[in-house]
């Protein structure tokens, strides 16, 4: 006897967020990346449509990163000192469809770059690299409020994904994203109540819920991944049941967590495995966008996604 599948019929749908704008859309990207749009829980292909696969964004930084593991530094070699060369390797050698740029050099403790020089850097990167871009501030709220409007303006019309808005600091970023036609990352500290609240606060400023991607904040495998997993699952269940305020795709900053672990630091092979498994676990809890560092981990996860979606 054939097994009868228990299939749910949901009323909600996850928003589709498009990152990048081609020439005809007012930007200069060679391609666009679409995430979200599911009408089912992750990977239940028989239950409902999952129109877009999870996507990998390669992480780069405007200055040589201070928190990269030796293995990662060795992999990218001298390119980590030159963001343009670094971006070029990611796109041309590792076939990155999307880059996640961290503006680390604007942080008061790590270079304290001015808004003008940050904007200039963004313009230069956009002219050299043609894949869609995610732009992240340095994490210093006061400085980000000066830098991010300049970066947003420099990338106007390119439909970037810009972050991270947090509950105590979102207004400046939302205003910029709204003015320059981007989408926003809303970050909450593994807290579904704050995730929902922040989405409402952002949409109250006039940025539609369809232009928000949730960063639920994750822990690596063995370091609280299950908390993020359950938050994401709960948000998705609510969204599919009709709660529009939680119906945003998820971005997960996989690599920064995975490479922090002592297991990853113990051996390079283990680091790659840790990054891979953290990412694949999060795909199962509904991650739409995975920010990754090691090309081998990226390749593993890419293979995993292709195998899953082959059906």
């Amino acid at each position: 006897m054939e097994t009868q599948l228990v299939l749910e019929k949901w009323q909600g749908v996850i928003s589709t967020v498009i990152i990048g704008a081609k020439k005809e859309e007012g930007g200069s990207r060679s391609d666009t990346v679409k995430i979200g749009g599911q009408i089912t829980m992750p990977l239940l292909f028989k239950e409902g449509a999952t129109p877009n696969k999870p996507r990998i964004a390669f992480e780069i930084s405007d200055i040589a990163p201070f928190d990269f593991d030796e293995e990662l530094i060795a992999t990218y070699g001298k390119a980590v000192n030159d963001p343009f060369a670094w971006a070029d390797i990611c796109v041309n050698e590792y076939k990155a469809g999307l880059l996640c740029l961290k503006m680390q050099g604007t942080h008061p403790d790590f270079g304290n770059k001015s808004p003008e020089s940050a904007a200039k850097f963004i313009s230069a990167l956009l002219s050299k690299v043609k894949v869609p871009l995610i732009i992240i501030g340095s994490g210093d709220d006061a400085k980000d409020n000066l830098i991010m409007p300049a970066c947003s303006e420099a990338a106007r019309g390119e439909r970037c994904l810009i972050g991270c808005a947090v509950q105590d600091n979102y207004k400046t970023l939302v205003a910029s994203v709204l003015a320059d036609g981007h989408s926003i990352i809303a970050e909450s500290p593994i807290d579904i109540n704050i995730a929902k609240q922040l989405n409402i606060l952002i949409s109250d400023m006039g940025l539609s819920l369809e232009r928000i991607v949730i960063n639920p904040t994750i822990g690596a495998l063995g370091y609280g991944l299950e908390y993020a997993y359950s938050i994401m699952e709960r948000a998705r269940l609510a969204a599919l049941s009709g709660d529009k305020t939680l119906a945003s795709p998820f971005i997960c900053f996989v690599a920064q967590e995975a490479w922090k672990t002592k297991e990853a630091k113990a051996s390079s092979q283990q680091g790659i495995i840790w990054e891979t498994l953290t990412a694949t676990s999060l795909i199962q809890s509904g991650a739409d966008l995975l920010v990754m560092r090691h090309p081998k981990a990226g390749q593993n996860v890419s293979n995993y996604i292709e195998a899953l979606f082959k059906g």
């Binding site: 579904i192 606060l201 709960r234 709660d243």
Partner: protein, 262 residues
């Protein structure tokens, strides 16, 4: 919670006037305001003043359908008035209501089937209003037996335990809350439950407060639907909060706003 707006009722002077003058604007505005306040469906009643409900009911249905496709709850004690409404209805419908009397059940269940309408069954009969929980359950069983025999889908049946005014039958209110849960146990799949909320405060002074307190308690007893005034914002806030406390929605500081964004 499935909310049925109660304000289109000839008992209210504005609707009585609209019926008399055939002023569709008044009715349509009242419909849209209730929907904007959170009504999922609209109750339509010609009220006692209507001289010719057989004409008034279909008129109400038609003018409201011009502005919304929300379900319409056709409210009359006379099956013929309900049928006149059903004949012209394009929106989904709910018959409000049948009693547990066989004569009524034999007319209204086939009518509900014919027009693919949902049906509200009130646990009263020609013998009068039940005085306790057992009598309510007995009448509910009568309604369920008839709907079952006639092949009417149970999930389209709403049982109403008949809410009594607090100043008339204070001793019965606890029974009414308990029977909401017990209605669910007398059949599988279970019927839905509904109350006409405003009855609870009929003739009382602090009406809105009594309404919202009772509604919160009824929600905790598993109530599925209520006919109420959705323009009573405090009532709606209490309802949203009660559902939040029952974990039907995810908390956030702006949960009231979040619910209304749905």
């Amino acid at each position: 919670m499935f909310i049925i707006g109660e304000l289109i009722n000839g008992m209210y002077s504005n609707i009585a006037l609209a019926l008399k003058d055939r002023d569709k604007k008044i009715v349509q505005t009242c419909a849209l305001e209730q929907i904007a306040s959170g009504a999922d469906a609209l109750d339509l009643s010609c009220g006692p003043a209507s001289k010719n409900p057989l004409i008034d009911m279909p008129w109400l249905v038609e003018v409201i359908q011009e502005v919304t496709d929300k379900p319409l709850c056709l409210d009359s004690g006379k099956p013929k008035v309900i049928e006149e409404g059903l004949k012209v209805a394009k929106n989904k419908t709910i018959i409000n209501s049948t009693t547990a009397d066989v004569e009524k059940l034999e007319i209204l269940i086939p009518l509900a089937k014919k027009y693919r309408s949902k049906l509200i069954g009130i646990t009263i009969s020609a013998k009068g209003i039940p005085q306790n929980k057992d009598q309510r359950l007995e009448l509910a069983a009568t309604i369920l037996t008839h709907t079952g025999e006639q092949g009417f889908p149970i999930e389209d049946l709403y049982l109403d335990p008949i809410v009594m005014p607090i100043n008339v039958a204070q001793g019965q209110i606890r029974d009414i809350l308990e029977v909401l849960l017990e209605f669910k146990m007398i059949s599988q799949p279970p019927p839905k439950t509904i109350i006409g909320l405003s009855n609870i405060s009929q003739g009382a002074k602090a009406r809105s407060l009594i309404n919202r307190t009772f509604l919160s308690m009824a929600v905790a007893s598993g109530l599925d639907s209520a006919i109420l005034n959705p323009k009573d914002k405090e009532l709606m806030d209490a309802l949203i909060t009660a559902e939040l406390i029952l974990n039907k929605n995810i908390y956030c500081d702006s949960y009231l706003e979040a619910y209304r964004k749905k």
